[in-house]
């Protein structure tokens, strides 16, 4: 176990040490203490390591992650796991705005609630939120899956492309071109796997599925607002 005191030793040293890890590293377990809401913690990682952050983080924790597991034992500020490519990011508490924004792959698990624009422009990431998500979540979502075990705020999936959204609770409103869709057996299976990966004991049958009506895919004057 490698322990790094962020307050004492600084952000640059931390990220440099994490970036130095390769696929063959035997320093696979890292613990970061005293994060104190710092920004850009454990960004741009690219090795099969596990990083446990003992506290809450500021902006962009786990940004552009590849391969690594980043576990925040607290809450996360805006843009957690933004543009993640692969690996896993877990937030024990709540996540602020833009969680998982533009993520291309990997899994983001938020055990509390996520604020607005969760999964904005998501491009393949899987996001599992145990609680609620705020307004404009999955805005322009291109691909990937978002699971919301609680409720969704206004304008869910506005201008969505091919991302799949699963919500167990209420949806305050759907955004432009986002509609409820049939839950077919393959979606139940997909959702079961997502819930399992997210450590969530909800039943897939309790969810509704939402996605694109595909009416905005080509510009038409009658679609303009």
């Amino acid at each position: 176990m490698q322990t790094y005191d962020l307050e004492a030793d600084g952000l640059r040293g931390l990220n440099a040490a994490l970036h130095a890890q390769t696929s063959e590293t035997n320093q696979t377990q890292w613990e970061i203490v005293n994060p104190r809401g710092s920004h850009a913690i454990a960004v741009g990682l690219d090795a099969p390591i596990e990083v446990n952050v003992k506290g809450s983080t500021g902006y962009y924790c786990g940004g552009m992650n590849k391969q690594a597991t980043v576990h925040v034992h607290g809450s996360a500020g805006p843009g957690v796991a933004e543009n993640m490519m692969s690996g896993t990011v877990v937030i024990d508490g709540d996540a602020s705005q833009y969680a998982g924004a533009t993520g291309n792959g990997g899994t983001l698990v938020i055990k509390g609630n996520a604020s607005s624009r969760c999964g904005i422009s998501m491009k393949g990431i899987d996001i599992v939120v145990h609680g609620n998500v705020g307004h404009m979540s999955a805005f322009m979502g291109q691909s990937g899956n978002m699971v919301v075990c609680g409720d969704a705020g206004e304008a869910l999936g506005d201008s969505i492309y091919e991302a799949r959204l699963f919500v167990r609770g209420s949806v305050k409103s759907l955004g432009a071109d986002c509609v409820e869709k049939e839950m077919r057996p393959e979606h139940i299976e997909l959702l079961r796997d997502l819930l399992d990966r997210g450590g969530c004991d909800a039943k897939p049958e309790e969810f509704k599925r939402y996605g694109s009506a595909r009416q905005l895919y080509n510009f038409k004057v009658d679609n303009a607002y």
């Binding site: 990220n15 741009g44 962009y60 552009m64 833009y98 091919e162 510009f219």
Partner: protein, 450 residues
Amino acid sequence: MTVKDIDENGPPRTTPIQSATFSNPINAEIRRAAATGIYDIRGGGAKRRVPHFDDLLFLGASVSRYPLEGYRERCDTKVTLGTRFAKNPIELDIPITIAGMSFGALSGRAKEALGRGASEAGTSTTTGDGGMTPEERGHSTKLVYQYLPSRYGMNPDDLRKADAIEVVVGQGAKPGGGGMLLGQKISDRVAEMRNLPKGIDQRSACRHPDWTGPDDLEIKILELREITAWEKPIYVKVGGTRPYYDVALAVKAGADVVVLDGMQGGTAATQDVFIEHVGLPTLACIRPAVQALQDLGVHREVQLIVSGGIRTGADVAKAMALGADAVSIGTAAMVAIGDNDPKWEAEYQKLGTTTGAYDDWHEGLDPAGITTQDPELQQRLDPVDAGRRLRNYLNVMTLEAQTIARACGHNDLHNLEPEDLCALTMEAAAMAQVPLAGTTWWPGKSGAGF
């Protein structure tokens, strides 16, 4: 005219007068809008006449200034970008860079040609909305990687392959606006790079998905620096609207370089009304931007790149005399590699346009094979030959700028200064803050003594 004439021919009639307000082109656009219900989309920058570098003149040396010999004496052109924070600043042989243009809007062969030409001339080229292609990286000695709101194709591996990162806040053709790559240009490869279905219109958002405002931008830049180990210069590109404040805020956010794009700067596609009616002429942007840098004590430490309507070495020299460290060209580079070439006139006619006016780049039917993803049309552009043309053009512009600088007595393009210039019009004098020709005065300047 006699009474008899009136009796025989009727009363005289007034000469038909066309309305300046409702001119024939305006009326044609009204009819087009009424028929289609869709606003006009096109590529390029503002076509209307606005105050520009043509409205400035260099004074040259005489008794009060001592010129350098035009062909013999040294006049440096090198520029280093990213000296503020980056470990590895970019060193360019010439202060003329190639602006961001996307693979998707342009063919892969066109991107290759831009990379080849820029590299041969010792300068950088820039990716665009859609990510970095291997051929572009492979043929560009210095490549700037754009970080755009859409984040199409964005990934940390390419970020680390780049020589610099350009955070695009806006562009001169459409400050405050996003973009749309229409479905007819979404080939399999473009679709795969952008992670979207083939053939659908692909929107590029008008603002970034995970930051808003200058305080957030500072943190975003921190993240990008951490991911790239503080090696890469980070540019911030803004469209010309409020240049003093935008440049000041970009500096505050930690930019190494500010790219400032005026309304003549091109786009792949947006609404004509946006291009022509939003933003400032390039000429009006430079002095406020330089003032912001000077007020913050970072002029030359944070480099300023100016773009939007740069065509000649004279334009380069004028932009630099007003305080820019370098310029960037997009439309001119496209023309150099073959865009709007008269040899395709018959095909432009078939598309309802003519050489020099072709701007429907979004339709993907470019006869020159540049703004298209059509496999056959693309083959019309030879990237080696086109790259050579771009290199030649860049060399000519550099020689022209050097000629002017020497005539003004400077041994480095960066020694050009506003005192080398005068303006032909009141508007240009006010925007450039240089004297109206033959006077010592410009609008807003107090006093008029020599």
